[in-house]
Assembly symmetry: C4
Homo-oligomer: 208 residues x 4
C-alpha cells in the first residue's frame, strides 16, 4: 500500500482542493478531502469543517483516529468525516477519498433518482476509472437519500460497499459525490472523469 | 459585533470583487460591495460608481455616512448605495452587503416573477446559508420589481426586511442579487451558495 | 476627444485581447481590435491578421492610414480593417472598435435573423451601454448578412450607421460582433455588456 | 517542411496541453499530443500514457520510431500512438497531431452518428481551418465507431484519409477528436476552431 500520508500527498491534496474550487465543485466551503496516514492503527488526514477550499493549505487539515477524534491539528471535523472513515474501513486498498458538490451531479441525482443510480455507459472516458479497460462498460453510481443523520448514513454506506465493492463512487441525493482511489492522484482523476461524464450525460438528456 | 472595517476585511472585499469578476458575476463595472466600518455613527465602506471590479483595490472604495455623504475617498457613490444603507439599518447584525449580477439569477428572476420569489428547497448546499442546518429547508428569495427610483426601492426593501428578517437575500427583477452576512467571509459564501443553487435550479427547469 | 493612441491605451487594448481570449470570445486567431491614433489625418492602430489573441502584445499591432495602408509595424492587415475604418469615419466620437466572436452571439444572429436585429430589452445591464440611463430601454443590434466582399460590407455598414447613429454595435450573421466606444475602457465594457446579455437572452430562449 | 521537432515546438506543445487541460478538453489524463521530429526516418514526439496534461512539460514526452518503439524518454506510449502514426503516414504535410476529449464533441458524435459525420457549415470561424477561405464552406468531421482494437482502427483511418485527404479531423464516437496541421500553432488553432463550432452547433441543436 502507498504511504498516502506522505508530505507530497498532503500538498497534492491541498492543490486538488484549490483547483476543484476554481472549477466550481467545492464552492461555499462545501466538500471534504481526506487521505489515509496509517491503516493500523487507522489515522486519516481530513479537511476541517468550514474551510474555504480556494485557499486550502496544510493548516486546513486535521489528523483523526478511527473514532473521528482529533490526534493533531486545530479546528473541528465535519460531520461527514464518518462517511470517509466508513469508506476506508470497507475498502482495504483505498488511500484517499474526495467529496465534491457539482451542478451537473446534483441535477443527475434528481433525474436518475427513481432508478437508484446514475447510469453511465459507452464512453471512452470511463477508462479513466481504475480497472476499467474498455468503453463497453456500464458504471452505476448509486444514489443515496440525503440525511443529516450521519450514523445512519454510515451504516447504509457500509452495506452498499459490502454489496458493491467494485463501484467507484456514490452520490448523496441533491448533495454531492463521494469517490476514492488508492492515491490522491487516482481519486483526483476519478473526480475529473465523473464530472466530465456527468456533464455529458446531463447535457445529452436535455435536462439543462 | 465584528469590526468589519478592519484592514483585513478591506483587502478581503477587494479580493472577493476580483474573483467574482473572473466568474462573470460583476461584468461591465456592474455590482457593488460594501462593509460596515462603524454602526454608531453609521459609516460604510463601498465601491465607487463605475469601478472595474476585475481590478478592484483599496482605491476603489469610498467611506460614507448614514446619509450617503462621502466621509473619505475620491469618486462618486452609486445610486444603489441607498439599498446597502437600508440593509444595514434594517438588520442589526449585518457587517457586509454584496450586490452581483449573474446570468442564471437574472433568468430565474423572470421565471419565478409571478410567484414573487425564487424558491430553492431540498439541497444540501442550502446549509451554506447562515443558520440553515438541514437540506430540508426552503429558501425564498423575494423578487422586487426593478426601478431607477432608489428612494422608492429603499422604502420597499425596508418593509420587506421588516416583514422577513430571516431571508438571506432578495433579487431585483432582471437586475441582480443583494445578499449580506455578519462578515465579508460570510457574505462571500452566501453569494457562492446562491449562484450555485441558481444554476442548479435554472438548468433543472430547462430554462437554459 | 481623447488621445486614444496613447501608450496606456495601447497596453490596455492588448490586455483586453488576452482577457477576451481567455473567455473564449476571440479563439483561433479570430477577432480584431483597433483604436484611433489620430483623426486628422486618420491613423488607426489595429491587430495584424492571424495574431493569437491569447498572447497579444504591442508587436501584434499595425498603424494604418485612412486607406488601410501600413504606416508602421510588421505583418499584414486583416480584410476586416475596412469595417473598422468605416466605423471611425461614420461616428466622429469613436476612439476604439472591437470585433469578437462568441458562441451565444453567433447563435442569436441565427435566431433573430428574420427580424433583422437581436432585440434586448428590460435588463439593468443595458445601462452599461454608453448613454443608456434606464433598464426600460430596447437595444437593437442589427444583423448584417456575412460576406467575404469587404468593400460591399463597408458600404452597407456606412449606410447602416448613417441611418442608426445611436446603436452600440452590429452583428455579422454567424460571424461576430462589432462594437465601439470613445475609449478602450468604454468599448471593453460594451463587449462585456453585450456578451452577458447575449447569454441571458440565448439561455432564456431555450436555444441552448 | 517545418522542422516540427525543434525545441520551440516542443515547449509549444506542452503549453497547448496545459491550456487545453484548463479548458476541460483533456481531463483525467485523457488526450494525446504529438509532433513530427523527422519524416525520413519517421520519428515522432508524443505524450506518454497516463500523463496529467495540466502539468505537461518536456518530461511527459517520448520519441518513437515508425513502429511505435521508444527511441528516447521514459514511460510507455499510449495505444492511440498508432493512430497518430497513421495520420503522419497518410498526410505528407502534417507536422503535428492533437487528440482531445470534449463535452460538446462527444455529444455531437452521438447526435450525428447516423449521418456518419458532424456537419458544420456557414460559419465564419470555418476560415480558421487551413485552406478554407469562405464561410460558405461545409466541413464534414467523419465519425468512426470507437474500438479498443487500435490495429483495426488504424486500418480504417488509413482508408478514410486516403479517400478524404481534404478533411481537417475525424471523431471517434463517444471518445474524442483527432485533428492535425503543418505546425503546432496550426493544429492548436484547429482544436480551438472545432471546439468553438461544436459548442455552437450543439447549443443550437438544443441537445444541451
Amino acid at each position: 500500500m502507498k504511504t498516502a500520508g506522505s508530505i507530497e500527498s498532503h500538498a497534492e491534496l491541498a492543490e486538488a482542493g484549490r483547483e476543484f474550487y476554481r472549477r466550481g465543485w467545492v464552492l461555499g466551503t462545501s466538500g471534504n478531502f481526506s487521505m489515509l496516514s496509517s491503516r493500523e492503527p487507522m489515522r486519516i488526514c481530513i479537511t476541517s469543517s468550514g474551510v474555504d477550499k480556494g485557499k486550502l493549505d496544510e493548516t486546513g487539515f486535521l489528523e483523526l483516529d478511527e473514532n473521528a477524534q482529533i490526534v493533531q491539528g486545530f479546528g473541528s471535523p465535519s460531520a461527514e468525516t464518518l462517511l470517509h472513515l466508513t469508506v476506508y474501513r470497507a475498502l482495504p486498498k483505498v488511500g484517499s477519498v474526495l467529496h465534491t458538490h457539482s451542478v451537473w451531479g446534483v441535477i443527475l441525482s434528481d433525474v436518475f433518482l427513481k432508478g437508484g443510480a446514475i447510469e453511465i455507459k459507452g464512453y471512452e472516458m470511463l477508462k479513466g476509472l481504475s480497472g476499467v479497460t474498455t468503453h463497453e462498460h456500464t458504471e452505476w453510481v448509486p444514489i443515496i437519500e440525503n440525511s443529516q443523520n450521519y450514523d445512519a448514513l454510515s451504516a447504509q454506506i457500509e452495506a452498499l460497499l459490502h454489496d458493491n465493492p467494485g463501484i467507484h463512487g456514490f452520490y448523496l441525493h441533491r448533495h454531492g459525490l463521494y469517490t476514492w482511489g488508492d492515491s490522491v492522484a487516482e481519486v483526483r482523476r476519478h473526480v475529473e472523469i465523473f464530472e466530465f461524464l456527468f456533464e455529458v450525460v446531463g447535457r445529452a438528456l436535455r435536462t439543462t
